[in-house]
Structures are given as C-alpha cells and as structure tokens.
C-alpha cells in the first residue's frame, strides 16, 4: 500500500495548481511568472534542496479537479507544499487535502477572507478583499464623499468587498445610495450603470474580477457618468496592471486602493520588475504576480528555517510570523491567522512617460483582514 | 354496429381544407376501398383516423367509442392499425426485429425491462405467410429493395392483429404478381377484420373492394358498390379517365 515517505533530501517538490487555461488563465500566467521570477533571482536551491515546481492546470472553474490534482500531487508526486489557487472555491476544495496530508498550502491569488480558516496548513500571500476595500471606504469618507453607489460582481469576493465597504463607509458617516451586483457570467454593464446614473451618487465604488474592469470603465465613460459628476473608486482589481495601459484614457483619474502597483517606488520592486521581464517580456506584473513571488519567498524562508526539513507542521510553524520587504512593501504573515498583513495604498491612474500607471499617493500601513 | 365511423371529420391546413366534413362508415369485416384524385385528402383522412394528425373538427368513433382525442398508441391498442403511403420503417432494424417489436407491443410487453424480447417465432410465421424471403429477414431494412420494404410495411400492420386495418397504397412499387399475393393475404384476414384500402391500381381495387368511397377535394364524391362507381360519370371524369376497369 502507498505510504507517505519522509524524505529529507533530494528535491523539494512544490505542487503548483493554477488556472492556466480558461477564463482566469491570466491569473495563472501571472502567478506562475511571479514564481519563476523569484527562482531566477534567488536561484533554485534552498537550504541544500533543489526546488522543483510541478505545475497543474485546474482550468479555473472545476473545484473537483483542483481537489483531485492536489490529492494526486501529495499522494503520487509526494510534493511537500501546495501552492497557487486562483479562486476561492478551488482553494476551499483543496483545503481538506492539505489538512489530511499535513502539507503547507500557500494561497497566492484567491482573496476571500474565510480561506485561511479552512485548514491550519493554509498560508496566504495574496490579499483579502476586506483588507483592500476598507481603506478605500475610509479614504472616500475622509475626502468629502458622502454618498456612494456600489457595484460588485455577484460572487464571494464581490460580496466580501461590498460588505467591507459598506461597514466602513457607513461607520464613517457615509451613505450607500445603491447596491448593485452584476452576474459573474455575461455581464453587460449598461443597465447597471444606467441605474447608477439615475441614482446620481457622488462616487461609484467598483469591484470586478481583473480583466472585467476594462469593459466597465469603457461603459462608464460612454454613458457620460463622469460628466454627470460621478467619480470612480474601487479596489485595484478594476485597474489591473496587466491591462491598465490598453484600457486607455477612460481610466485616468480613477482612484483605487490596493496592496501592489507595478509603479511602486522601491528597490525591491525595481529588482522584481527586472527579473519578471526576463520571464515574461512585454507583460507588466500585477498583484497576482507579486502574490506568486512572495509565496515562493515564504516557502523558501520557511524551508531555510527548518534547515531543509520538509515536515509540513514544522514548515507552517516556521512560516508563521515571518516578515520581510516585498516588492509591494513591508509584509508579515500573521502568526495567529496565517493571513497576510500589509500596507494598502491609495492610487490614482495617471499617464507617465506615455503609459498609464496606478500612482500611489497615500498609504495605510499594516492593514489586517477584518473579514 | 359500425367498426369505424366519422362524423363531419374536418382537417384544415391554414386556409386550405384537406378533409372537408367527411361522414363515413366502415362496417365490421368490410372490404372497403377509398379512391380519389391525387391530393383529394385520402392520406390526410387516414392520418386523422389513426391519430397521426389532430382533427380540426368532427368525430372519429371506433366500435362505438369516441376516439377523436385518443393518442395514436391508444388507438392501436383499441384495434386500429395502418400502413403508410411513404415507407415508415426502422432503417437499422432487421425485418425480424421490427415485427417482433410490433408483436411485443401488441402483447403489452413493451415496458418490460428485465428480460429479453420474445415472439421471434410468431414473427417468423407472419413473414412466412407473406412470402417474405428468408435471406432478407435479417438484413438491415435500409438495405432492402424497395418492394421488400413495402411488404414489411404491411407485415408491421398485420403483426398488430388489428380489427380495423387502414392500408395507404400498399401495392405501389410492388410488382403486380406480388401485390396480388399481398392482397390475398389481406383478403384472408379473419372475416371480422374491417379493411380500408387506398389504392390507385384499379385492377386491385375492383378485385378487392365490396364497397368503394370516392373522395375529391376533401369531400365524398360518391359511395357505393363497385359497379355503380365504375359507371358513375363524375368519378370517371375526376378520377378514372378512360381506364378499362377489370371486374374480379
């Protein structure tokens, strides 16, 4: 009968499960490239063990496939860590495998609050929506916006964002004029935006999955909402660096809050951009990429701390409480929640040197998930 | 008692009336022919009787029971069987399979799911009676020559042991020698089975029929003994032309 063999030498295998095809393929490509960028920069050997990545495609839509892939990776390929996880349901489906197999599971992209609670072996290097959203609500309230409509995609992260925004914004004395949820599939934003126009709020808060922001922003401009005096605020997903530049002038002036912008001004980020460009030329890294980069860093650091011992419980223990300076800024893996604590930036879309960037102009330090 | 009767049976297609208030009776054991020009509404009439088409107006009675609104299969259960002018067969089934299936349905075993089909022997006997060549019985129907398919068309109806049998041009495409055999098999059906024959082959019609109804433009043009029909000038003009009519 098969058995988990406790190998302490040889390659350290990481099972990386990502949506490499399907509607969320760009997430997978970014995370994967982020990891490759880290390996290129830091070498493939950690604590005397060669890092070996086994990449699997979960197509982004099938939790049972994700689960099966995780199961196979631990049973057959004997990976010592699971990583990746582009979407919440997929991460949730794999969580029991991590628990049962006792391997660390590093969530690099999925962003709903609950995920980390589903297994004591889960660690997160992406972000959570409440974490990114609350500062936006606070900023809006502090900058004289009293009356906001919200528009989010109707799935778990969207609901997280909606709730977080509402709580924080109303607590700060603001008013939610209208709450709209758009379907995940075939969203035609026109009718929703028409309602926003009818309601005439001072600003529209938006969360949509990355990639969708383009259509939404175009519609926003076409309907003349800006002329009607409605501002756009949102989380960074809307103005994803991946396609921000192609989205064009309609984005200019939009205010978003997020943990990473490719325009972040630091030595770490410049180094990251450089190695990333070697992996995926002509593509700007986005917040998914930095989640992959930092996730790889987290695994490597933990492995260093255990001196190459790949016991899952020891790895997780070693990872807890780690702090370092990431391309996005200073971050910490909370020792209790295993979730990420990081700075959130308020950014404005601006044109610099012919390209459009999210330029950070305000910072809320060390934000925790309040999910 | 009337085997099959209609009362003001009407069928319209859009603005076109294909069957126009036809009242018609078929007696038990009748050997009755229905003739008429092309497009007179004969096939439509059969479709109304068998339930393949719903009637626009009027009634259909089978042995005193109103079957106007019964679905097709219920009419078959009640003893009404038909053949089609254009072959309607199961192309991938062999003739033996097709007939076995029909017999099984007749015996009410079509919903049986826990064992195989029976009645193979009875099917073989029926095909024997119709002189259906042995070699053609186990080939897929689609590969059979046309004439053989016509014969199978009739075999399927006979397998149902109907009390009323509607035949829509059974002899078309069958050589005269064989069609005579077929008609003999039909004539040899039990005397209480009523048969309604639609046919354009006047030899066959006058050999077979004891009574003839002529349909034209959806309505009954004439009805009576073969001799009277053959002499009726209206029928000659609309349908028979100058054809010689054999008397059998």
């Amino acid at each position: 009968a098969p058995r988990l063999v406790q190998a302490q030498s040889g390659n350290f295998r990481i099972g990386l499960i990502l949506p490499m095809t399907g509607p969320f393929a760009s997430t997978g490509r970014q995370v994967d490239a982020g990891i490759k960028a880290w390996l290129r920069r830091n070498g493939e050997s950690v604590a005397g063990r060669r890092i070996e990545i086994l990449l699997r495609d979960d197509t982004g839509t099938q939790p049972d496939v994700t689960r099966r892939l995780a199961q196979e990776l631990v049973v057959r390929e004997r990976v010592k860590a699971l990583a990746g996880f582009g979407l919440t349901p997929l991460a949730l489906a794999a969580a029991p495998i991590a628990t049962e197999a006792k391997v660390p599971m590093v969530v690099m992209a999925a962003a709903t609050s609950v995920i980390v609670q589903r297994s004591p072996f889960i660690l997160r290097t992406s972000f959570t929506l409440p974490q990114a959203t609350a500062p936006m609500a606070q900023w809006a309230a502090a900058n004289g916006i009293r009356n906001v409509a919200t528009l989010v995609t109707d799935f778990a992260p969207g609901l997280d964002a909606e709730r977080a925004f509402k709580n924080r914004f109303t607590a700060a004395g603001g008013r939610i004029a209208l709450e709209l949820r758009t379907p995940l599939r075939n969203p035609d934003y026109a009718p929703f935006l028409q309602r926003v126009r009818d309601a005439a709020p001072e600003a529209l808060f938006i969360f949509v999955p990355s990639g969708e922001g383009a259509a939404l922003m175009k519609q926003f401009a076409e309907r003349g909402l800006a002329q009607a005096g409605i501002r756009v605020i949102g989380t960074g997903d809307v103005l994803d660096d991946d396609i921000l530049n192609e989205m064009g002038d309609v984005t200019l002036g939009a205010i978003t809050s997020h943990h990473y912008s490719a325009a972040h001004d630091s030595a770490e980020n410049r180094a990251f951009l450089e190695s990333y460009a070697q992996v995926l030329p002509n593509v700007r890294p986005n917040f998914m990429a930095v989640g992959g980069f930092d996730g790889m860093h987290l695994i490597a650091e933990a492995l260093k701390r255990t001196n190459g011992n790949d016991d899952g419980e020891r790895l997780v223990a070693a990872a807890k409480g780690l702090s370092w300076t990431s391309p996005r800024g200073p971050i910490t893996i909370d020792a209790n929640t295993r979730d990420i604590v990081q700075d959130i930036y308020i950014r404005r879309a601006e044109r610099r040197d012919g390209q459009i960037w999210n330029i950070e102009f305000d910072r809320i330090p060390q934000v925790r998930d309040e999910g | 008692m009337i085997a099959l009767g209609t009362c003001h049976l009407t069928r319209r297609f859009g603005g076109f009336t294909a069957v126009d208030a036809v009242s018609f009776n078929l007696l038990p054991g009748a050997r009755h022919a229905l003739i008429g020009p092309n497009g007179a509404g004969k096939t439509t009439f059969v479709n109304l009787l068998s339930g393949a088409l719903p009637a626009s107006e009027g009634q259909v009675m089978l042995f005193g029971q109103d079957i106007t609104h019964l679905p097709q299969h219920a009419r078959v259960r009640a003893g009404l069987a038909r053949t089609f002018q254009v072959n309607q067969l199961f192309p991938q089934f062999t003739p033996l399979e097709s007939v076995t299936l029909a017999i099984g349905e007749r015996e009410g075993q079509g919903a049986t799911w826990w064992r195989g089909a029976r009645h193979g022997a009875e099917a073989a006997r029926l095909l024997d009676d119709l002189h259906f060549p042995e070699a053609d019985r186990t080939r897929p129907t689609a590969e059979l020559p046309y004439g053989r398919q016509r014969l199978l068309e009739i075999a399927l109806a006979l397998a149902l042991k109907p009390r009323v049998l509607l035949l829509d041009e059974p002899a078309a495409g069958v050589p005269p020698a064989e069609s005579r055999e077929v008609m003999q098999a039909i004539a040899a059906l039990p005397r209480d089975v009523a048969v309604l024959l639609i046919e354009h082959d006047m030899d066959l019609v006058f050999r077979f029929a004891e009574r003839i109804t002529v349909l034209a433009f959806g309505a009954v043009l004439a009805d009576g003994e073969p001799d009277a029909i053959a002499k009726d000038p209206r029928v000659r003009e609309a349908y028979l032309g100058t054809a010689e009519v054999a008397h059998g």
Binding site: A1, P2, L18, M20, T21, A25, L55, R56, D57, Q62, P63, D64, R67, R68, Q71, E72, V75, R76, T88, P89, L92, A93, P96, I97, T112, F155, A156, L184 | G51, A52, P71, Q72, H73, A74, V76, R77, A81, Q88, L89, F90, Q92, F93, E97, S98, L101, A102, G104, E105, R106, Q109, G110, A111, T112, W113, W114, R115, G116, A117, L156, A159
Partner: protein, 307 residues
C-alpha cells in the same frame, strides 16, 4: 470468447487498482465520468434524445448527497439512493416540458433548464454555499467499515462497484423490449407510434432513468470528494459528458466507459505535460477522431476486430 470480451473492461479496472495505487483519484474520476456518460448513452444513444442540460441531474445528485452529508446523514449508500430519487423526481417534473418542444427546441429547453438550475443553486447560497461550494460534507465509512482515505482506495472501489451494478442494470434494460422500443423511437418515431408505442411516455421513462443515473454519478462525486460545487451543474459538465460519449461511441454502453476513460486520461496526461497548451493537443485528437472514426472509439474497435 464473448464473455471474456465483456469481462475485459472490468478486469482492467480491477487490475488498475493494484497496478496503479497512486492513480486512484484519477481512476475514481474516470469511473464517475463513465457513469455520467452511461446515463447519457441511455438517453442519447438508445432513445435518440439529445440533451445539453444533463448536468442538472448530476449536480442535483451531488448537492443532495453533499447536503445530506453536511447535515449529519453521511451514510453513503442511502445517500446515493436518495440522490437518485431526487434526480429522478426532477426528471419526472421536467420531462413533459422537454418532450413538448420537439427536437431542436427540446434540446435547447434542456439547456435552459440546466442553466436555470445553475443560477438557482448560485442564488441559494444558504443551502448550497453558492459560488464557494458546499463546505463541511462528512461521509461515513462505506458499510461502516471503509473510510474514504487520502489515497482514494475506498473512493475508487466504491465508485467502481456502483458503476458495475448500474452497468449491468443498463445492459438488462437496453436488451429488453423496453430498450428495443427506445431504439425504435430513435429510428422512426412516426412508425413507433403507429405500432402502438406510447412514444412520449417511453421517452419520459428513459429521461427519468437517465436522470436517476446521472444523480447517482453526481452523488458519487460529492461523496468521494466530500465536496459539491456549482460546476457540477454547469453546461460544461453536460457538454463534456456528451463529448466522452460521442468519443467512445453511442448506443453501445461500452462506448460510454471507453470514452470516459480515454477523454479523462487524455485530458489529464496532456494537461500535465503542457498546462498551458494541452487544449491544442486534445483538440487535435478530437478533430482527428471525428474525421477518422465513425461510431467513435467503439466503432474503430469493431472495425479492427472484424478484420
């Protein structure tokens, strides 16, 4: 000789358990996909009724079994039976709608109903967990003795056993007069009605049976993975089931098994070898098969053995 041929797939399946102890999760996935394809074969292959919404029954079965397990009734076998019954009930309720419309429209009605159920499950998050999937499913050991383990041993043997039993039942069914009448309806519904076959009722029966089968397949998935998600109800699931069936060959029952195995293995191996571009190679395989082989893999096999 014939018997040996019939036993072959099952011997292979049992052999695989011993030969590939590390591939059991994949093998279970194949068994479940095979059962789903089998249920489609009854409906599409035999009765000739194409559906694009069969995942509705699969997903319903999955959620029923999953919710039972979540709410404290984790007994697997009764879970399967209840899932089958609920799926059959949905089949019974929707059959008149689907059959009313006729061929192309009926096909699209199945699609529409499937999509509606998907949306309903998405909205009913309190019951289904919505887009996050159903959490906290606990399934008890089979016969109180065999726990669903990490290696997937129990999962595989359990799925295989269920598949085997239902396959035998399906075989009985298609060889019976009932099965013959379904084929007759597929071949020529007009004549079928004229020899006294209640066409709609038979099709409805086939629809309900296929629904129950699909429900069991879904329940198996939920039980062996202890999880259920919206994707079990998705159009993609329906379409994939059809692909497997056509790939294997319609109207043979074995085609469903072979198609499910071939498709799942090809998908798995190709996507492992090339996580980004596996669809290219899978696509080439499907195109080639469609061009070369009439009657799918079963057709090709038959032609080979006839030589």
């Amino acid at each position: 000789m014939r018997i040996a041929l019939h036993a072959l797939p099952w011997l292979v399946a049992i052999g695989a358990y011993f030969a590939m102890p590390e591939q059991l999760p994949l093998l279970s996935a194949i068994a479940i996909a095979a059962l789903f394809a089998l249920s489609l074969d009854l409906l599409v292959g035999y009765a000739g009724f194409v559906t694009l919404g069969h995942a509705a029954f699969f997903g319903l079965g999955a959620y029923v079994a999953g919710i039972l397990g979540q709410q404290g009734w984790g007994e697997p076998i009764s879970g399967l039976l209840i899932a089958a019954a609920v799926a059959a009930l949905l089949g019974l309720v929707t059959a008149p709608l689907v059959l009313r419309a006729g061929e192309l429209a009926g096909l699209m009605v199945t699609l529409g109903l499937g999509l509606m159920l998907y949306e309903a499950a998405n909205k009913a998050a309190f019951l289904t967990g919505g887009a996050d999937g159903l959490q906290g499913v606990e399934i008890w050991p089979v016969f109180g003795a065999f726990r669903f383990d990490l290696w997937g041993r129990t999962a595989y043997l359990y799925s295989l056993a269920v598949l085997f039993v239902l396959f035998l039942l399906a075989q009985l069914l298609v060889r019976s007069p009932f099965g013959l009448s379904l084929r007759a309806i597929r071949e020529n519904p007009k004549r079928a009605a004229a020899i006294g076959i209640p066409v709609k009722r038979r099709l409805a029966a086939a629809y309900v049976i296929a629904a129950a089968y699909a429900g069991v397949a879904g329940a198996l998935l939920a039980q062996t993975t202890q999880f259920a998600s919206l994707d079990a109800l998705s159009f993609q699931r329906s379409a994939e089931g059809l692909l497997m069936l056509v790939l294997g060959g319609l109207g043979t029952l074995y085609g469903a098994l072979i198609g499910a195995a071939a498709f799942t293995i090809a998908h798995h191996t190709l996507s492992e070898a090339s996580p980004q571009f596996w669809q290219f190679w899978l696509g080439i395989a499907l195109v080639a098969l469609a061009l070369l082989g009439r009657g799918g893999l079963m057709g090709a096999l038959r032609r080979m053995t006839r030589r």
